[in-house]
Amino acid sequence: MALAFDEYGRPFIILREQESKSRLRGLDAQKANISAGVAVARILRTSLGPKGMDKMLQSPDGDITITNDGATILEQMDVDNQIGKLMVELSRSQDYEIGDGTTGVVVMAGALLEQAERLLERGIHPIRVAEGYEIASKIAVDHLQQISHKFEFTATHIEPLVQTCMTTLSSKIVNRCKRSLAEIAVKAVMAVADLERKDVNLDLIKVEGKVGGKLEDTELIYGILVDKDMSHPQMPKQIEDAKIAILTCPFEPPKPKTKHKVDIDTVEKFQTLRQQEQKYFDDMVQQCKDVGATLVICQWGFDDEANHLLMHRNLPAVRWVGGVELELIAIATGGRIVPRFQELTPEKLGKAGLVREKAFGTTKDRMLYIEHCANSRAVTVFIRGGNKMMIEETKRSIHDALCVARNLIRNNSIVYGGGAAEISCSIAVEAAADKYPGVEQYAVRAFADALDSVPMALAENSGLQPIETLSAVKSQQIKENNPCCGIDCNDAGTTDMREQNVFETLIGKQQQLLLATQVVKMILKIDDVISPTEY
């Protein structure tokens, strides 16, 4: 064990306080790790696919989240196990990189681990298993590239994009109006996309939610929505052809950063100071007015006096607007963010066709719409829904759909969903397995089996006979040499995913396989787990 003796027979401390640590080595360690990973995957397995179920998560503060999004579930799950945390990381990196398929990647990793356990029991060295997986994943990724289709879309012909987004949304609770949401997501992405460079800056899309109304009322606003109202209750609620001054300085007397004191020791000084103060407010408002601004949006607060002066001079203003929103407003209206009143010039003003305030419901919730902007590159998706959890879940779903649309603009290759891509890869890997001499062959074959588990889970969640359905589809794929056959989750009567219009992005799928393989490799390489025991 961790106790050694030097040449004089004295014990040698390798591990401090050995007794208080529990230690797992060799096969035991690997098995423990694998079972932890599989346990995490098992939680997510039932969330896969259009008929997947949701999970209800209660946070330490008692707030409820109901979701179907793998990354969100794992993030809020409070996992303590180290391997469990690795799986959480896995799903998170898929979320960062692709945005969709966060459940699938964990299920895939779980299946790979399950298969690895069997191989380990047969006495195959974990590294050999890992290498076999590596080979197999390469085959699968190449195969995906082969069976992928490119489809053309233009700014006006967005149907294929909408179809793909619908596939993503169909597994969420919002699938009731997936069509309209998918259209919103695609239009939003197209509005901000740079089709030349094939790049989309998702930061330009703001997703705002407000409880109340119904899901169908969700809309796309070509402009910005700010959850603020006018600083003075009597300012006009609607401004046409607004010229917007975007300020990051408060309407307050200056506060120099160097320490200073103004000493008042005579009556004259007191009076001059007072006049200066008044003049200061007056100047600030006048400066805004002089450059021709008809709306002031400010990051900071206003003094009461300044507020009244603004109102008095008929200059509507909005205060306490967050930094991110300010930037978006600047982008949308083509204005510049001005840090000092002295630097205000007419060129730095943003322009918007219509700014209006809208009230919701019976409470005094108001929001500010800034529409018809000079540069409509910034858009807002405004979500309505019956309750708070619904809004949150819709936000997550929209985020997924936006990511998918973005990925398609970057790379317009798609593969077929509903497990079709996995089954096709599994067949290809299985066929390639025999070519490898040596132990790796088994690992490659195991990889093929693991690939099957995704369509299997889909079938299971849809209430179909998993083995029966999978074997039927598989044989159909081989017989017809058609990589579009998948699991018919929606009971539509056909297994051809082309007809059902179920698409997924190629990069999303490839990334799933690569990430899952990497994490599994990492887990398999661990042969010693040292952890402090409980006390």
Binding site: D28, A32, A36, I43, K51, M53, D54, K55, M56, L57, Q58, P60, G62, I64, I66, I73, Q76, M77, D78, D80, N81, I173, G212, G213, K214, H232, P233, E252, P253, H260, K261, V262, D263, I264, D265, V267, F270, L273, R274, E277, Q278, Y280, F281, D304, E305, N307, H308, L309, M311, H312, A359, F360, G361, T362, T363, K364, G386, N387, M389, M390
Partner: protein, 527 residues
């Protein structure tokens, strides 16, 4: 080899059947809790807060009851949330939405128990909800063009809403109050301009609507108690010590005489400010902030009525009523818009003195003075009136009206039943269940009124089998009656919101197959 610990300590996980059971039980418990408050003969609940003083609230309002509950069950929290949203969005139907969601889940439990997949139930529910909504749409009445009829509709809606509340004894009186108040808003849903003042004493019947504006403040000493043709300046400015706002300024003096000088200058400054204010040609000055004795005296000298410390809402309302603007600087009196009113006077309600502004320019805002025997009664009366006002203001915008007394539920149930017969597959069970859940609402109303619900519902169904029936439950006589004749109406918007959010919530809870509860955050014991 099983994993011993995947989650942190105290985090729990419930799966599959158990998770579903937990959420069904929680949701149904909440629904049963508020069930007895439904309908005109529903009962009230007493809520005792755990805070200091153990203050007591007596209420019948679903949202208020649910808001005050401490719930640990996640599914129950979903129901509380929908009730809250219903309150914010349409104001009424907060109990119905919870009862309907609870009934939907109760039916779903039976279906899931007989091995129908929750997803199938959900898709059935969705179809049914859509069908129910279109059935309602078919039968709505819209009297927007006919002002008299529309007003009658509003009266009826207000009376129906109020009949389940504490105000039911004087519902006609209050319905009239509410309708008058809402009609003054002219289509705006901004209920802030309707002020509700509660004064204990007298009876509920003594409550009245005042066309002017009542400010719950006293007039300064030695100032006129009655002003005719008042010019009012509404302000938000410091009238105590006007601080120098320039950062870092401070007074440093080296002798007592200088202190006196500065003090004099300060006083002079205030006097100037007061002079400027007086220079506006006003005879009433209302400030949001405090007015110190010194300026108050100056105002009194000039014969100006000065009112201090009117809260922000009061100021906004006053500005709205009198048509003035809220001022904070007073340098150019010619361009500040002053408010006007015919008469300002001090009035007495019960024991308290209030300031009454009448004959105002803009008639949008108004005040409702509630009188009642105790604070509990007044609080509940305010909540009931608030519900009625919310519903009415929403109805002014969306003037579609339905009949009440369980009529909409019967119409929906009939349409949904027909859909169930036409739909092949397992979904039809779910659709049938939806119609049963809808019937639960009239059943509960009848049960709460101590009537024979089974008999009544059966009769209603038979009535509704005929085309274009107006039958509903007449709780007063305990029989089936014609709702159009009895004048019981409800707003379409409320019913639609109840239907949609209840279905949405039920769907959400049904989709869950696993509940993971994190360890509660440790709070330091501050005992």
């Amino acid at each position: 080899m099983a994993v011993e610990r995947l989650f942190k300590d105290e985090a729990t996980e419930e799966k599959g059947e158990r998770a579903r059971m937990a959420s069904f039980v929680g949701a149904m418990a909440i629904a049963d809790l508020v069930k007895t408050t439904l309908g005109p003969k529903g009962m009230d609940k007493i809520l005792q807060s755990t805070g200091r003083g153990h203050s007591v609230t007596v209420t019948n309002d679903g949202a208020t009851i649910l808001k005050s509950l401490h719930i640990d069950n996640p599914a129950a929290k979903v129901l509380i949330d929908i009730s809250k949203v219903q309150d914010d969005e349409v104001g009424d139907g907060t109990t119905s939405v919870v009862v309907l969601a609870g009934e939907l889940l109760r039916e779903a439990e039976k279906l899931v128990g007989s091995k129908i997949h929750p997803m199938t139930v959900i898709s059935g529910y969705r179809m049914a909800a859509e069908c129910a909504r279109s059935a309602l749409l078919d039968r709505v009445m819209d009297n927007k063009d006919d002002a008299d009829k529309f007003r009658l509709d509003l009266m009826r809606i207000a009376m129906t809403t109020l009949s389940s509340k504490i105000l039911s004894q004087d519902k006609e009186h209050f319905a009239k109050l509410a309708v008058d108040a809402v009609m003054r808003l002219k289509g705006s849903t901004n209920l802030e301009s309707i002020q509700i003042i509660k004064k204990a004493g007298g009876s509920l019947k003594d409550s009245f609507l005042d066309e002017g504006f009542i400010l719950d403040k006293k007039i300064g000493l030695g100032q006129p108690k009655r002003i005719e043709n008042a010019n009012i300046l509404v302000a938000n400015t410091a009238m105590d010590t006007d601080k120098v706002k320039i950062y870092g300024a401070r007074v440093r003096v080296d002798s007592m005489s200088k202190v006196a000088q500065i003090e004099g200058a300060e006083k002079e400054k205030m006097r100037e400010k007061v002079q400027k204010i007086i220079g506006h040609g006003i005879n009433c000055f209302v400030n949001r902030q405090l007015i110190y004795n010194f300026p108050e005296e100056l105002f009194a000298d000039a014969g100006i009525l000065a009112i201090e410390h009117a809260d922000f809402d009061g100021i906004e309302r006053l500005a709205l009523v009198t048509g003035g603007e809220i001022a904070s600087t007073f340098d150019n009196p010619e361009s500040v818009k002053l408010g006007h009113c015919k008469l300002i006077e001090e009035i007495m309600i019960g024991e308290d003195r209030l300031i009454h502004f009448s004959g105002v320019e803009m008639g949008q805002a108004c005040t409702i003075v509630l009188r009642g025997a105790s604070f509990h009664v007044l609080d509940e009366a305010e909540r009931s009136l608030h519900d009625a006002l919310c519903v009415l203001s929403q109805t002014v915008n969306d003037s579609r009206v339905l009949l009440g007394g369980g009529w909409p539920e019967m119409v929906m149930a009939k349409a949904v039943d027909e859909l169930a017969r036409k739909t092949p597959g397992k979904k039809s069970h779910a659709i049938e269940a939806f119609s049963r859940a809808l019937l639960a609402i009239p059943t509960t109303i009848a049960d709460n009124a101590g009537l024979d619900s089974a008999e009544l519902i059966a009769q209603l169904r038979a009535e509704h089998h005929k085309e274009e029936s107006n039958a509903g439950i007449d709780v007063i006589t305990g029989s089936v009656g014609d709702m159009a004749e009895l004048g019981i109406s409800e707003a379409f918007k409320v019913k639609q919101a109840v239907l949609l959010s209840a279905t949405e919530a039920a769907e959400m809870i049904l989709r869950v197959d696993e509940i993971i509860t994190c360890a509660p955050r440790r709070r330091e014991d501050r005992m």
